[in-house]
Every structure is written in structure tokens, then in C-alpha cells.
Symmetry: C3
């Protein structure tokens, strides 16, 4: 039975040794067993080129070891020191506008700069040599939230090399990028650049390939550090913390293969129930990236949710429920950024485990209570999350629909995937995410939300799934383009016309549309022609009056508008019932995640409402160890884990 | 009887020869008789400096000729190839912020770059030499939508030369630009620059002159190509496609004199009836630029309207009605961008004559039906549009009111002119546009909407018109400045005080104002003192309570607020009735444009409503050839052309 | 009895000598006695390097002297001529993005450029030598609205020097800036830069110090000119016109010590009653900067208020009431930008004393009437404004809360101070502003609105005030940080926990909150723990339900949410009544400012309403000289000054 990790980023270099002593006592009080150290310590470890100051870190690691706290040791390469920028101005990132950024924040590096790459591997090696055998070392945390883009001349060189690998020659690139449009034909590699600022709309294929390239280039940089650390401390797991956001040029499916433990940072946006939905979404993604195995929530904020720039304070109990939600979905624990709120710096108001107010505070008491509870849940880590439905997730479709020249600015891939997940969450049905070319055969139903870009291989995999009898729900804007991002001609959705038994002739972005079933769509509609499918709902009013809106072709379903939540939930309910899945009957605002191993079943229950809820069943309450029969009541805002 | 053109931009370089064959068949099926070829073909024609590939174009032109389709052959100078940018980085445009843009889109050139100018004339000459006598050649299409601005050092040199021509010396420039304000006096030409980014508000006279200069400089570049093509293919008409938008630094009145056929691209903004109003507006402008003669709609989108970034799909029939609306107003046909929707590139979702769905589609069937109908309308091209009212239109007033330091950010010249045109459109009265110094004597009424900048010559022409007895309606913010953009002192509107019999002492921007007539204004009001005029309406409430808002001085009318549509329509109705014009009684949403030649009269009827409308009269329906008596019924969303 | 100044900026270089003659006649007619000359005359005075043209200015000064009009002579250093920029491109300012701005506006200089500094002192010396003994010279007006920022390399050098002075060494800087966060430790001075554009959030301490530095650097530049002028014309007062706005990097408390007469430019934003409130706010600030002594309104707009970019025309009488409001609060007169509205230039629509319409206008008649009235008010200048309440004002707290990483984007220091002042204004109670380290002992009550950054010295001064028995009202977000901008730990508001008898554990930004008193807050709330204080109001509903919102600890009050105006007014009323102040009973929209000297008391009454108001009392109406008993009636929109 694996222990669950509890702790967070620990930045002792911001504090005096007197504070370190208090930290140890408070960590023990809170039940902390893992801290991430050194993420932004480069300038503290190497204040001048080649002059190292390891004394403080030696003492801190020894202190932690002495207090039984394990260390997730970071390489500090996400933030080179000012002296590095000054010595290597060409290693500072450049915007698409040509502005060379300056240090004074973090992430001021160009990953394609040879000087940076050499220095990054160098500091990783130095740390590996010094601490690779330290008794406190639990795992390596390479870098932080890989994701910094650059458009400089060094990037041009690397981009061209990547393109040459991908396309072989310029003829293939010209074809894939449709450079015949707007006279963009390239006749020499040095004519090819990152998509810097240009006069008008950029080439969408160039923009997409640049994002693919950047993900790969960052991954290469990660692998260089991993190789060094592996050789210096074999057996110690190595990972990096994934972060999620449209600015992140990283394809997590590809990255997940390269880490020993998938780790994510998760900062939901929004103050309402969407924070709980996003927590579930992020955790399900992480588990899926980890191939269903365990993973780790590496960062979350202890006390706040980002809400349009405002820091919305988490209501009492909410931090704990979010932590349990992650653990229920496979996280091996709950870590926070950061242990102690900083006195200065840009993130001094980032809420922490120990707030500015100190340990005598509501916030720290909730942390301590969570730390106390976690060990009792560890047994459930043996169970696997039961998921019979998969949602396809694809970074490339996201990037492609984030590019220029789409028919509506409201097209939002992430929103489309979230909406699919939200209906399942709201029905109480656990979902995995799957890669478009992944093996879908073990799922009873698969949802394909707005999978704009579909390679031939992915198209084959998805069609094969439907041919095998699985319930397939495809939503609008799927299957539009091939791997080069060129349109699949002959009627949308080119990749899925046959399996869906229909053809889309035109896109009609709209404010909203009514369907004859009483359902309602927003933002989008399509002129659809049935070629075998039956209409489950038709448009009512407007230019599409009487034409099909939702269709079914045997076990392949299609929805051509962006349904509102009640309509979408009702459709998803139909699809999963057709797949033989009966959603549980749960009170609204109550979340239940089931884990099972052999005959043992654990239920994680989260009561997000402000009233107590009773759920049927009998078993043992892991928190109290008490047995109960018939039903179990979870107080308002509370949670429980039951062994049935 | 001239044939009406039907077709669009044809970009065969994006497709394989197999597709070309299908194109020929579909073009014949659709009745296409003119295609624009080569607009963005530079990198396909000259993939490397000096190495030409004409084979594909030879074959395409021969194919077209063989299928009886005429060619509007473009010079590809709006989009130099990447190799050109790399060889001449100084020819890439620079923003006012100093950012040098890169290729990767289109229009990445600085028109003041000697290298660019030489290359542009060079490729035009090469095309002229090769195809100047090709049997398919119908006309030359120079460049595309001239309008790219630049602020680089080469532009500085050209701008100074232009200023020297205009002002003779710096003393005159200093006077005209009021450089005594804010210590901007220039003592040497090299101190003068384009209006690059500066600390605070720019000098409005400098900004205005820069726009004038850029229009002229672009025109010079056009004329250089025209001269070469003329010499190589005498007798072939030469034109360039005008585009309309506030970003376009071009004075179309001046340009219209330099083209053999005025041609416009027209992409209305807005999904509602404003698209029909804008269609009429653009077509009336084009006809006016063409001096009342025929002109050509060179581009429109087949299937969509831009609506705040969203591509609003044109409802069935709408593409056809827009085409007929243009033809009714003098266009010699209807062309589209583009023939076949691209598979890739930034405009792959730009709707086309052949959509992604292919020819078996509603969209292509509507195209085909239009192609079939057009030849039957050709006889009406002999008729002239009957317009007895003129609206003044002036690019310089637009530019001047788009500059810094105006009393309200809501001042919008284009909106003011559109509003005047919209009232006439809504009254069913055809309008011409006229240049401020043009001959107005043939009009019964003239509207002068927000003609901010008025040269002495224009002021004299307009005053002369009123003195001659024509009904003159002037709206607020007219006659404020002289040709240098300096204020005409002594009370606004300096150029028209005497003829209007009044004096404006103060501007009072507001949210809205009520008039004692029940009319209503928004955004603007003025403190007005009568000096001969009578008040037709007075302000009610607020600081202007009881003071005049709308006035009349004999045949000269003035309105000092921005009337809402019902109020404005009622005022325009009064003015034109005073001019002896009786607006026709038309059902709302029905548009009738009359053309006449001798005793023959053609009525173009567009029914924009969703119900059939019956109009009185008898004659011949050109579409069916049938004769009718008493009244004629146009089905919902349909159209007709009747010879009375 | 001092004469009150009346006049404005006079820019004769924009006009011909014929206009000068008319100017003199109109100035005499209007009662003008002081004009500011030469603010933007550099290019007129020195059109080429070293070639001076003083003839026109000689003539103008002589003309003014001959007409009995005094001169406020400006050094033109806010706008170097184009020739200067061309000769010294390194003296042009650079944005944080690295864009070097160009001349063509005004203020295109970098104050850290040695070439600029030398030229500025040079032109000041030249003017001092020529006009230092001119009979018309009343005072020197150095520069204009100091406030232009720059991020160039010269600025880096000066910034480092300033930091070295402040911190002594890099160790102290690293500590104060918390550079251990995000690996920003500096190991050499040349690594330190202005806060140029960086990858993500900037360091807030760096941003704050940069603003402090820039204020000091601009002040040094001012002092250089002052020293030269003082030596050349001893006895002549020297000042510069302060301007107010968040873009202005100037700490007026420090600047006020360096001017012989505090002078402000004041352009209220907003068209409603807030313009009157802002007028009072600006005038009270100016008087406070002047240490309670007299000061001067150097610029206001004669006819318009800025309202979201729109120029809202001042209603008849409003210009006069604003002028009197300033004078009532200690201004030695009322000056305008500018005398005569310009014909061209960026500010041609800036309303002026003589409008475009000329002197035969409502606007000029109001100016003339004001000029006639002013001399009759001069006797009141002997009286001091009676203020028993102070509001703390601190540029550093403004800058600190304008920086990165705050918990809510709605935090707005200026709004918080305005809100405090507005309640007092609305209660009819005059207020001073005080510096946080100033002597507060003479006030009965002190309000501390959102004083985020509090040095130890300021904390001691404020706590001492409360200990001395003064009523102290502290509002949320006060006392959070120390002078380095580091958080004061242990619970907010660190600097004031003891005196307030409470501790804030968490910030909870919200839309709005209700209190159990019926009061209402917006935007902000806090989790508050009483440690001695009593709760005057508690939160109702939400996560803070039942917890304290407004507290009192003896004479120290705290409010933890942003109260709406009625709630805030009621709280302030309680606090001042506890201080023994009884607000006068005034009709809404009527403003009364009292000045007293010995036994004489003057009441300035401003009736901002549209109906007459009667106020009790007896005395003499200074405007008419008439004596009245019992009550005095002020007509709608009018004003009066009464000697009681």
C-alpha cells in the first residue's frame, strides 16, 4: 500500500534558518511527507558563473531528511539567473513582434539557444552529482511547467531542422502548407521562419507546425536533463510538472511517455461549480496521460481560485474536497504551490499552506486536518478508476482550431471537450480521455468532440471502433482536416461521413437555434444532408428549418450544433444508455468516484452542496474506521471514502 | 448589348491538372465567362529569382480559351515570394512601432522600396510580354487591393519628396501643420518623418498628409505597371480592384481616373438588412467613381457575410440578390472570390462558387441558376441609373476625422455617409455620390454629411450649388476645417455659415437628445445661433433647451445632431420633396432600382422579405420573357427585372 | 490683500501680430492679469541649433507689459524641437517594449539623457539671461507636467546609481526585492535594469523602486533648471505645473518642497457631479501639498470635461463654479489652458478662453464675467480653510497597488482615497490631505484609505495619533506591506493590528456583500478575527456569514469591505461625530467652503443644482457689496461669497 504524498513547493532560500526550524515543526504537525525544493534556486545556487553556494541546500536537505520528509528535487532551469541573461543575451526569448524580453520575471530563456541548453544540462549535472544519492531524494523534478515560446533566429534554425525531418524536402512542405495560396512557395530552407508578425492572416499550417515543433523541442531539452540525471541516480523517478492552458505549446500525450510519473499543476479558473468540474477534468486527463496508472498532483493553490484575474478565496472545505477529488481519480497525493506564502515577489499573494497570517489560522487548520486524513485513504490507491466511456483529446486539434481563418471566433476546442466531460460528470459517469489513434475497444462509448484535425490513422481507428459496435458520438467540427490541416473535401466531416451516414454542406454560425425536440443550440449550426442516418432532432425556424440537427446512423451519433447543457446532457444520456451504461442516481452537486480492485470497491464521495446528503449502501468509513449499514450521510461541504 | 461577366478568382496553381479538367466542365455548367487568374501566383511563376515556370499558366490559359472563358489576368505584385523578402529585407513593411513584418501572409512589401518597385514592374513586363496577345486575355488586373502602409526609412524619403512637391518649402509646411503648437517646427527636411509612434497625440495635419501621400504613392506604383502593360498590349483594358475599409489609404476619386474600368471588391459587414444597404452603398459609390458609367464587381463572397468575425452564412437566395443589386446599379457582372474553395491557407473557409462540399450542393446550384439568369438581364445594361440626389463623399474628410484630437471618439465619417445613404435607400430613392468639387448642378438635392474638411474650392462649389437653388442638406461637423485641416474660425461650420444662415458656437457631445418635434438625436449636439435661418426643430431639455437643432435657410438645411433613423428619414423626405422628388411607395424590405435608356425603362426588384410582394405596373419579365399586366408578384426572397 | 490671478497659457507663436493686438484688447476686456508664455516655444525660439529668434517674444512680453499683464514665463523643455531629436536620437524615450518613440507630439525626451539635460539647462539659462529682469516677469514656469518615462540604457545607468544610493549594496537590494523568488538574485550592478517587458509577472519591488527613482530623477532635472533661474533672477518665484493621473511618476509631497508656489493642472474626468467632487479633491490635495498655504490652479479647460474620451461641454456657469471652487480652497486665482483655441495641432479642440467662435460667444462672455468678479473675492484669500479631518495620501501606496500580483484587478488606490474624500464632501466637511509620516495631531479625525505600503516611521506616526485619542478610520488593504513592499506577516493589516484590535486572515474578493446593518459592500471582503475590537457590522450570507465586517477598538475604526456610498457616508458620519464634528445641514448639490481669519469668516457657496437655494446667516455679499439678513438665496447654478 503506497503512501499518499502530502506537501508542496518549499522555497527555504526566501527565509532565514530560524524560519526553517519552524517549518520543520509545522510540516510535521501538518503531516507533510514530500516537498519540492529548488525550482527557482539557480541564482541562489550559482550566484555568479561557476561559483556555487550549496551550503544552504545541503542544510535544508539534511533538515528534511532528519524530519522524515522526502524531497522532490528540482533542476532550476526554468529561470536562469540575471548573470546568465547578461552573458548570453541571445538566449533571451523574442516575441513574434521581435521584442527581446528581459529577465526580471521567470522563464526568460530561449529553449533553442545552445548556450541555454548547455547551461541547463550543466546545472542538472551538478545537482545530480551532488544530491543524486542523498537519502532524502524521492524524485527529480526537471524544470518547471515547460512552455516558453520564442521566435528568434536560433529558433528559426531549429524549426527548419524539424521541418526537414518531417517533410524531407521543400516540395512536401509547400504541398502540406498549401503555399500556392498567397504566393508563399519556398525555394530554399532559409526562407522559412517561425510565424512572426506578418501583414495579415498567417498560414495556419505553418502556425500548427510551429506548435508541434515547439512541443518536440522542449521535450528534447527535457530528455537531455533526464539522461544526465538518470545516469547519476539510477532508480530515482524523474518527471516534470505539466501545466495546462492554451498558451502551453506541449502535447502531453507525447510527453507522458517520457516521464516516470505523470505530474500536473492544476489551477482551475472560475469560482463556481466549474472549479469542481475542472478539477475532475484535469485529474481524468492526468490519469489518462498516465495510461490509467497513478500520477501526481504536483501543484494546486491552497486557498484560491483564479476568477477573471480576481483571486477567489476557496470556501472552507473546498481545498480539501479538491484534493480528495484528485486522489479519487488516481493522484498519489496532494501537493501545493507553495508551503509558505512569500513575503515578496510577484506571487506573494499566491495562497499557500502556511498563509501570511501564520499557522494560527483557519487555512492552516484545514491543511493540518487534510494531512491527518490522507494516510487513511491510502488503501484505495490499489483500486483502479472504473471508466467505460472515453472522450478523445488531441492537442493538435486544439492548436489547429486556435489558428487563423476559422469560420467563427467562438470555436473553442477546449470548451467543446470540457462540455462533453461536464455532461458525463453531471451524470455521475467516470470518463477516460483517449488519444485519437489509441485503442478504444475497451470502452462502451466514445465521444469525439470537435476533433477538427484527424490523421488518416486516427480516422481509421475511430471508424474501426464504430464498426466494432461501440457507441460513437461525434460533435460538430470533427474530422474536417487531415494531418496537414488541409480540408477533407467532398462535404464535412470528411473523416466520418460514411460512418455517420451524412454530409455537411455548409457551416452556419449563429447566436442560437431551436430544435424541434425542445433542445437548444448556440453559436453554431450546419446544413446537413442525410445519407443513411436518421434525424433525431431537426432545426426549427431560420434558414435550416426542418433540416436535421442531431442524427443517428446505427451506433454512430452526430450533433451539428453546440447544445446547451440540459440538451447535451440528455443526448449523452441516450448514447451511454445505448451502450448499456445506466448513470447512477445522485443528488445534484454530489460527486462519487468509484475505484475497485478485485472484489473491493471504494467510493469517494464529495458533497459540494451546503446541506447534508445521504447515499445508500453499507461498508466502512475510512476516515473513522466505523462500519455503517443501509445509508451513509455526508455533511454539507464534506467528503468521505467508503469501502463497500 | 454587352455581355454580363460571371465568374471569379481562379487559382489553378493550388490544384492538380485533374481538377482543372473538372473546373472547365463546372465553369461551363455554371455559365462562367470570365475568371481572374494569377493574383497570388508570383512564387508559382518565379519560384526562384529569374527562374520562371510558365508552363502551368500557359496550359491553364489555353484550357480557358478552349472553353470560351475569358481571362482577367493579374500581376501578382501584392504578394512577393519569400525569396524576394529574403533578398530584400528592406522591402518588408515596417509598422508605426518599428516592427518589420515578415512574409508568411500576403502584402508583405513596402511600396516605397526601389527594389520592390523594380521587381513589380519587372514581373508585370514579363507577363505582358508573354500573354499580352493571348486570345483569352480580356483585361489586366494589376496587383490586388492596393492598401499596404509602411513607416520605414524609404517611406520617409518618399514622403519628404511628396511634401516638398505639395508645399514648396518648409515654411509652408510649418504653417500648414501648425508646428508652432508643441514645438514641432521643422528646420530641415530630414527632420520630417512618417507619423511613427510618438509620446502622445500625433499632429493631425501630419497624419492626414501621410494618408494623402500614401494614396498617391500607391497610385504611382499602379501607374508604372499600367504603362508597361499598355505598351505591351494596347487596347486591353487595365484596372485594379478597389477595396473599401478604413484601413485603406486610397482616395478612390483620384484612382478612378487611372483605371479603364472601375472595379471593386465588396464584403459587407453585418448579417442583417445592413448587408443589403451596404451592397447598395458600395455599388452606388462604384458607379459614381466610374462617372455614372459601368463598372465591375470584381469580388464578393459567394456564401458568407462577415459579422463581427463570424462568417454568417448567406441565406438561400441572398447571394443572388446581392449580385443583382450590384448589376442593377451598373456593375457589368458579378464576380466572386473565388471559384473553388481552397483546401489550405488562411482563407480556406472563405466561401466560394464551388464549396468544399463540391458541386452537388445547394450553394453551387444557386451559382448555376444565377449564371443561367444573367444573360437575360444584359439588355438593361444600356440603361442609366436614374439618380436625382447626390451625397458628397470625400476620403480626406474620412481620414481627417479618423485622426487624433477630435471632440468625441464617436465621430464616424463613414457612419455619417452611410446614414445619409440609408435614408434614401429606405425611401426608395436612388443616389449618386459626388466629389466635393464636382459639378452638382444636375442634382435636385445634395446631402453633405459630416464633410469635416472642405477646401476653398469645394466650399465655393457647394455654396454655388445652393445659390443656384438646389436643396442642400448639411449635417453636423461639416465645413469645420480647410484643406490643411486647420479650423475655419469665427464659428462652425466655417465654410457654410452664410449659406446656412447660422453659427455654431460650441460642440456638445451627448448620449442622446430630444427635439421638440418628437425627433431624437444621439451622440452629438451643438449650440447654434441663427443668423437668418429658421428653426425647424429645437432641443428639448438639457443645456440647449429651446435652442435650434434643425434649421432651414431658404433651400439650405442644417441638422446639428445625429438623428436616429426615423427622424433622419423624415428630414430627408422633407428635403427631397422640397426638391420636387416624390419617393415611391414601396413595401418595407423591397428594393427597386430603375434604369432607363430613351423610352425604355427597366425595374430591378429585390424582395428581401420572407413573403411575396406584388408591385403595380405592366411589362415584360426578363427572366421568363413573359408579359404581365397590372401587377407583378415577386416571391419571398426572390427578384425580378422588368422591362416596362 | 493679494490680487487673484486670472488668465491662461498664451501661445502667440501660433498667431500673427494682428491677432496679438486683438489679444491684448480682449485680455483687458476679460480682466486677464497673468499669462503663461513659452511652454512649447523651443522650436520657435531656437529653430536651428544655436540660432535664436527672440524678436517675437521680446515684442510679446513688451506688449503684455504695456497692457499691464504679468507673465508666467516657461522654459520650453517639455518639447525639444525636431532638430534636437535628430541630433540626439539617444535622447528620445524608449518604451518598456524597446520601441524608441519619435518626435511629432510632445514630451519626446529621455530625462536621463545627458544631452537632453545639458540642452534643457542651456535653454533655461538663455531665457533667464534674456528675460530674468523683464518688467512683466511674475514667475518662472519650469517645463510642463513632468512625467515622461523611459526604459533606455541611459535610464539603466541612472537607475542603478539611484539604487546604489538607496541600498548601499546588492545584498540589501536582493533582500528588499525578494530576488530569491524566481531566481532573480543580482550579483553585479550591470545585471539590474528598468522593468522592461519580461516573460511573465514583473517583480513588484523593482517596479515600485523604478517609479520612486523616476520621480526623483525628474525632480533633479527640475532642480537643475531652478538653480540656474534662481541665480539669474533672484526673488522671482519658480514653479512647475503638477499634473495628476496614474501615468505620472511623481511624488508630489517631495516635489512640493522644491517649488516656490504649488501649481496644479486639473482636468476632472466625468461629466456628472463627480467633476465637482474631483475639483474639490484636486484643490484640497494642492492646498495640502502647499502645507495649507496658497497655491495656484495653473490650467483647467474653459469649456469641457473629459468623459471617456468625449469632450463633455461644461454647462453654462460650470466653468465659473469650478474656478470659484478652486479659489475657495486656496488657489490664488484661476488660469486656463489656453487663452485662444488653436487652429491646428493635436489640441485644436481643447476648449479655450477665446473659442473658435470668437469673442462674440456665450463662452467668452462667461469668461469676462468671471474676470470681472474675481477682484471682489480677493479679500477672502486672507482666510485659511478650516479643516479638522485629514485623509492620508501616499504616492508610493498608489504605485505599489498599481503593480503586478495583487489579489484583485479591482484594487484601486485612487478610487479608495476619492471615496473617503467624497463622503466628507458630501457631508459638507472640509478635508486636508496628509502624508503618512506627517503631523496628524491637529486633526480631530484621520482616514487611512487603502494605505497598502506603510514604512515603520509612518506606522509609528499613525499609531501615535490613535494613541493620542484621535479618531482613526482605517480601510481595507492598509498596512499590508513595509517600505520595501514586503508583506508584514502574522495577519493583515500588519502595521495596524494592535491599534485596531483585530487580525485579518484572508482576503475574499467578491462581487458584493451584505452586512447585518443593511449596509452593503462591493468587490472586497476579509476574514477578520477580533482581538479586542468590537463588531459594528457583520457579514450576512456567504462564507463570512456572521463574521465582523466593520469594527471599532476605542477610537480606532476598521472597515474590511468597499462600502457603497450611502453605507460609507454613514460610517464616516459616525466617526467624525465621535470626533466632535457635526456636519452642516446642506441641501444636496450645494457646496459651502469656509475660510476664516481672526474673527472674519467667508463662506463660498456653490449651487450645483438647477434650482435656487436659500442658506441661513447674515453678512455681506462680496459680489454685489450688499448686506443681507436672515438668509441668502443663490440662484440655480450660481455661486456667492459671503462675508459673515
Amino acid at each position: 500500500m503506497a503512501e499518499l504524498y502530502f506537501g508542496g513547493d518549499y522555497n527555504p532560500e526566501q527565509w532565514s534558518p530560524a524560519v526553517w526550524a519552524e517549518d520543520m515543526a509545522l510540516m510535521r504537525q501538518a503531516g507533510v511527507n514530500l516537498v519540492t525544493v529548488g525550482v527557482f534556486s539557480w541564482s541562489s545556487l550559482e550566484p555568479e558563473p561557476g561559483r556555487y553556494e550549496f551550503g544552504w541546500l545541503d542544510r535544508v536537505l539534511d533538515l528534511l531528511a532528519g524530519n522524515g520528509i522526502r524531497v522532490n528535487l528540482a533542476t532550476p532551469t526554468a529561470s536562469p539567473p540575471p548573470w546568465f541573461s547578461l552573458a548570453h543575451p541571445e538566449a533571451l526569448p523574442v516575441t513574434a513582434d521581435g521584442v527581446r524580453l528581459l529577465h526580471g520575471s521567470r522563464d526568460t530563456y530561449c529553449v533553442c539557444s545552445p548556450a541555454y541548453r548547455e547551461a541547463a544540462v550543466g546545472i542538472a549535472r551538478t545537482l545530480g552529482e551532488r544530491y543524486g544519492s542523498h537519502p532524502a531524494l524521492e524524485m527529480w523534478h526537471v524544470h518547471n511547467e515547460y512552455g516558453t515560446t520564442c521566435y528568434c533566429d536560433q529558433v528559426s534554425v531549429s524549426f527548419r531542422r524539424w521541418l526537414e525531418d518531417r517533410y524531407g524536402g521543400l516540395a512536401a512542405l509547400n504541398e502540406a502548407w498549401t503555399t500556392a495560396f498567397w504566393s508563399q512557395g519556398y525555394s530554399a530552407w532559409e526562407q522559412v521562419f517561425p510565424p512572426r508578425r506578418t501583414q495579415y492572416l498567417a498560414n495556419p499550417a505553418q502556425v500548427l507546425d510551429f506548435r508541434r515543433f515547439f512541443s518536440d523541442e522542449l521535450l528534447t531539452a527535457y530528455r537531455e536533463q533526464k539522461a544526465v540525471l538518470r545516469s547519476l541516480s539510477p532508480g530515482i523517478p524523474i518527471t516534470t510538472n505539466f501545466v495546462f492552458g492554451s498558451w502551453v505549446p506541449v502535447d502531453h500525450w507525447r510527453w507522458a511517455r517520457e516521464v516516470d510519473l505523470v505530474a500536473i499543476d492544476h489551477y482551475p479558473e472560475g469560482a463556481g461549480i466549474e472549479a469542481e468540474q475542472q478539477t475532475a477534468f484535469g485529474a481524468d486527463l492526468a490519469r489518462s496521460w498516465a495510461g490509467g496508472g497513478s500520477w501526481l498532483l504536483m501543484e494546486q493553490a491552497a486557498g484560491s481560485l483564479s476568477d477573471g484575474g480576481r483571486m477567489h478565496a476557496k470556501e472552507p472545505g473546498r481545498m480539501t474536497r479538491h484534493s480528495v477529488s484528485h486522489i479519487a481519480r488516481g493522484s498519489r497525493g496532494s501537493l501545493f504551490f507553495q508551503w509558505r506564502a512569500s513575503r515578496g515577489g510577484s506571487e506573494r499573494f499566491h495562497t499557500a499552506m502556511v498563509p501570511h497570517a501564520g499557522p494560527d489560522s483557519r487555512a492552516f487548520r484545514e491543511i493540518t486536518a487534510l494531512g491527518e486524513a490522507l494516510p487513511r485513504l491510502a488503501e484505495a490507491d490499489e483500486g483502479a478508476v472504473d471508466a467505460e466511456v472515453a472522450i478523445l483529446w488531441d492537442a493538435e486539434s486544439w492548436w489547429a482550431t486556435d489558428g487563423p481563418g476559422l469560420p467563427s471566433p467562438e470555436i473553442d476546442y477546449l470548451a467543446a471537450v470540457r462540455a462533453a466531460h461536464r455532461q458525463l460528470w453531471s451524470l455521475g459517469v467516470s470518463a477516460d480521455f483517449a488519444h485519437p489513434t489509441g485503442d478504444l475497444s475497451r470502452y462502451r462509448a466514445v465521444i469525439v468532440p470537435s476533433l477538427y484535425l484527424v490523421s488518416d490513422e486516427a480516422a481509421a481507428a475511430i471508424n474501426r471502433y464504430a464498426e466494432g459496435g461501440g457507441q460513437l458520438l461525434v460533435t460538430s467540427l470533427s474530422g474536417i482536416a487531415d494531418a496537414t490541416s488541409q480540408i477533407r473535401l467532398g462535404g464535412y466531416p470528411g473523416a466520418f461521413r460514411d460512418v455517420l451516414g451524412l454530409r455537411v454542406e455548409e457551416f452556419l454560425p449563429v447566436d442560437s437555434v431551436d430544435l424541434d425536440t425542445g433542445d437548444r443550440g448556440t453559436g453554431w449550426s450546419e446544413r446537413l444532408r442525410l445519407e443513411g442516418a436518421e434525424a433525431l432532432a431537426r432545426y426549427q425556424g431560420g434558414p435550416l428549418d426542418g433540416l436535421p440537427a442531431i442524427t443517428r446512423h446505427h451506433n454512430a451519433w452526430y450533433v451539428s450544433t453546440w447544445l446547451d447543457d440540459p440538451s447535451y446532457k440528455s443526448l449523452v444520456d441516450k448514447v451511454i444508455r445505448a451502450a448499456g451504461i445506466t448513470p447512477p442516481a445522485l443528488p445534484e452537486g454530489v460527486e462519487v468516484i468509484t475505484r475497485s480492485s478485485g472484489k473491493t470497491r471504494w467510493r469517494f464521495i464529495l458533497n459540494h452542496t451546503s446541506h447534508p446528503v445521504a447515499l445508500p449502501g453499507n461498508g466502512v468509513d475510512l476516515l473513522t474506521g466505523e462500519t455503517f449499514g443501509d445509508e451513509f450521510t455526508v455533511p454539507a461541504g464534506a467528503w468521505a471514502v467508503l469501502r463497500d
